[in-house]
């Protein structure tokens, strides 16, 4: 089968320190989910600890960021920063930069709605970056980083079923699974 030659991602990221993963985190794993997980003979794909086949920094499948350094993982608490102040160095250039998202400098940017821009009143480079940055700010909301379940109390299935059981229309025997 032909395998696609992927264009490797180019964003730089800090030296891949082979730090240990969080030792204190508890994980409710899925026991016996697949039996034992022996090391993969193809560990090069997607692993930050090995040099993938496409180049020293590329990760064709997986997220291209450095591994976390030591310390315990937040343990599921939403919003707490990674210990060690892991710098968000995951590859992301500022929104204004076109490098990461595949734009070549000087290449005509094709807007999805079909209005190419080659120059702006602000100049071809900085103005475009500023406009993109402003536009991006319209998409991002701080609430995207906040706990969406904060302030919610769990509601019991039993209570809801009791409350709404008389509004259901049964078309078959109750409890009979009939796919």
């Amino acid at each position: 089968m032909h395998r696609q030659n992927f264009r490797p991602p180019t964003p730089p990221y800090p030296g891949a320190g082979v730090g240990g993963w969080g030792s204190g985190s508890s994980f409710r794993g899925t026991p016996g989910g697949g039996g034992p997980r022996p090391p993969s003979p193809r560990d090069g794909y997607g692993s930050p600890h090995h040099t993938p086949p496409y180049g020293p920094r590329s990760r064709p499948y997986g997220s291209s960021h450095s591994p976390r350094h030591g310390g315990s993982f937040p343990g599921g608490r939403f919003g707490s920063p990674s210990p060690g102040g892991y710098p968000g160095s995951y590859s992301k250039s500022p929104a204004g930069s076109q490098q990461h998202f595949g734009y070549s400098p000087g290449q005509q940017q094709t807007h999805p709605q079909g209005s190419p821009r080659t120059s702006t009143p602000f100049g071809s480079g900085r103005g475009r970056e500023k406009r993109m940055s402003n536009e991006l700010e319209n998409y991002f909301k701080p609430s995207m980083l906040e706990d969406p379940w904060a302030g919610l109390e769990p509601v019991s299935v039993v209570d809801i079923n009791q409350q709404y059981s008389n509004t259901q229309t049964f078309t078959g025997k109750k409890g009979r699974y009939f796919c």
Partner: protein, 542 residues
């Protein structure tokens, strides 16, 4: 690990990844995984675009094709399910899942994978009762019915998923599990989307299939989209045994990708530090796929899944230890999802648009490899064989209708033209007034000038839907709204008459709600074989 969840993508990959990058910079750190809850629109070219069930004015190439071609690369591992706005021909090539681009993985009609030890399942499409019990009979070129039915959830996917016994960490569905709205701030939801009120009160909004899966899995997280609103809920399940801690599910539905909308959320999820950082197959799921391979159905005939009722020799397809070990052996103990994406279709070239690109029913090499390795059937191969023999796919002269469709783009969408792309799509979520000005792909009633709606293309679904409704179980509660689908309920064949009459709904600001909406005018339906179904009901009631 940090997981980002996106609602309806609508092909806005660039925007989603850019927003993700900004979220990383503003937040606690890098994001490991992006989950998209449907309407992904993996449109590679013009032919794919024609297979998307949207009105012509919303048919935009968007940005996926750049990722397909390799021009761009997804910066984070992306896993998605299908919704009701998809390049259905493309996704059809990958019924068991597969890569649609490097680093972008489609879960398939239903699928379960693992990433860093986190078990992620999902079901694609939306629920529609009258298609639920059909096989996967659709294939390109689609006709006005199959372009929509193809993304309707089928019983076999739910059945397979319900064979799974091991815990589920995250589950994805495009439409909401029915009744989930009772577990969050319902009042706030109804303030934002007031036209949901009737269906919420009637418990008809959302998917009963998804609801069954929610009850079965009780996953830690459930993410959805479809209704274009952010909604969080915390569902406390019933404990199985006394003394056992009851499980809880954190549900979150997200909006579509537009400025100032809640389309993205970053969540911290516990993972297994010793688990690999690549996508893995789930052994139990693969085992169930092998076990249920004989159940594959590529016909349009309604059918029921096996159950312990004396009619089936086997009804338990759950994964045994032995069967799972067999699968492990087959995979050489390597569960890594192979990075075997390859370009198999022409990619859109903006400098050379192809308006007459031919639509081809393809066999995808990823599916071929997967099926060969597991020893299971590629549905598309079966379909092609059936097509050659019996012309079962309802072939349709797509080309002619495309031309008439384009010329009719400015006409009211509410006409009797049965061409796939200009008719009403009852699966569309209708917008309220504040969204009507947005360039959304969701159809709106703003185009509707006349109450005399006769979308006759859907009429053929009706008799099937009624027979379907009569046989569905109590657990798969289907109200009259499922078949007729007006926002306020209506009289139904079941004799349940909430009171809405012909024309009333059309006087409203036309807030079409759930995916099961059918226009009011189709109330009078002649049922096929009515006497037979009456007899079946008598037996069921006994």
């Amino acid at each position: 690990m940090r997981v980002a969840v996106a609602g309806c993508c609508h092909g806005e990959l660039d925007k989603i990844y850019e927003t993700l990058a900004l979220a990383e910079r503003r937040g606690p750190g890098p994001i490991d995984l992006l989950l998209c809850c449907g309407d992904f629109q993996a449109v590679r070219n013009e032919a794919d675009l024609r297979c998307m069930a949207v009105p012509p004015k919303y048919r935009h190439m968007q940005t996926f094709y750049r990722y397909y071609s390799g021009e761009k690369k997804a910066p984070v591992l992306t896993v998605f399910i299908g919704g009701n706005h998809e390049a259905s021909n493309h996704l059809q090539e990958l019924p068991y899942g597969g890569w649609v681009a490097p680093n972008i993985y489609y879960l398939g009609l239903a699928g379960v994978v693992k990433y860093r030890g986190v078990r992620i399942g999902g079901i694609s499409g939306i629920f529609k009762s009258h298609d639920y019990r059909k096989g996967h009979f659709e294939c390109p070129p689609y006709n006005p019915a199959t372009i929509r039915s193809i993304y309707h959830v089928r019983n076999i996917e739910v059945y397979k998923l319900k064979q799974l016994k091991q815990p589920m960490d995250i589950f994805l569905s495009h439409d909401w599990p029915r009744k989930i709205y009772h577990y969050g701030n319902k009042q706030q939801l109804l303030k934002t989307k007031s036209f949901f009120r009737q269906e919420v009160e009637n418990n008809t909004l959302g998917s009963p299939a998804a609801s069954e899966l929610l009850e079965h899995f009780k996953p830690t997280y459930w993410f959805s989209a479809h209704l274009h609103v952010k909604f969080a809920a915390l569902m406390q399940h019933q404990a199985k045994d006394k003394g056992q801690t009851a499980k809880a599910t954190k549900f979150l539905a997200l909006d579509k990708c537009l400025p100032h909308r809640d389309f993205l959320q970053v969540i911290e999820i516990e993972h297994d530090p010793s688990a690999p950082e690549y996508l893995e197959y789930d052994i139990e799921w693969l085992t169930v796929l092998r076990a249920t391979d004989d159940l594959i159905n590529v016909t349009e005939r309604l059918w029921n899944m096996p159950e312990n009722n004396g009619l089936h020799t086997r009804w338990d397809y759950s994964a045994t230890e032995e069967a799972m070990n067999k699968v492990l052996e087959i995979l050489n103990h390597d569960l890594k999802v192979p990075c075997n994406f390859s370009i198999t279709a022409a990619c859109y070239d903006p400098s050379r648009p192809q308006t007459q690109m031919q639509l081809v029913h393809r066999i995808n090499p990823q599916t071929t490899e997967f099926c060969a390795q597991l020893g299971i059937t590629d549905m598309n191969v079966r379909l092609q064989k059936a097509k050659e023999e019996h012309h079962l796919c309802g072939e349709f002269e797509e080309q002619d209708d495309m031309e008439s469709n384009d010329s009719g783009e400015d006409r009211s969408e509410y006409n009797t033209d049965t061409s796939a792309l200009s008719s009403i799509n009852p699966d569309e979520i209708m917008l309220d007034e504040e969204e009507e000005d947005e360039d959304s792909i969701v159809s709106t009633h703003s185009d509707m000038n006349t109450p005399s709606v006769e979308p006759s293309d859907q009429a053929s679904d009706f008799s099937a839907s009624f027979s379907d409704v009569r046989i569905l179980p109590g657990s798969m509660v289907v109200s009259s709204d499922d078949t007729l689908g007006s926002p306020d309920g209506r009289e139904g064949k079941l004799g349940e008459a909430p009171g809405s009459e012909d024309g009333n709904d059309l006087e409203l600001p036309l807030k079409r709600l759930s995916d099961e909406h059918e226009p009011e005018q189709r109330k009078k339906i002649k049922r096929r074989n009515q006497a037979i179904y009456a007899a079946v009901d008598d037996d069921d009631a006994a």
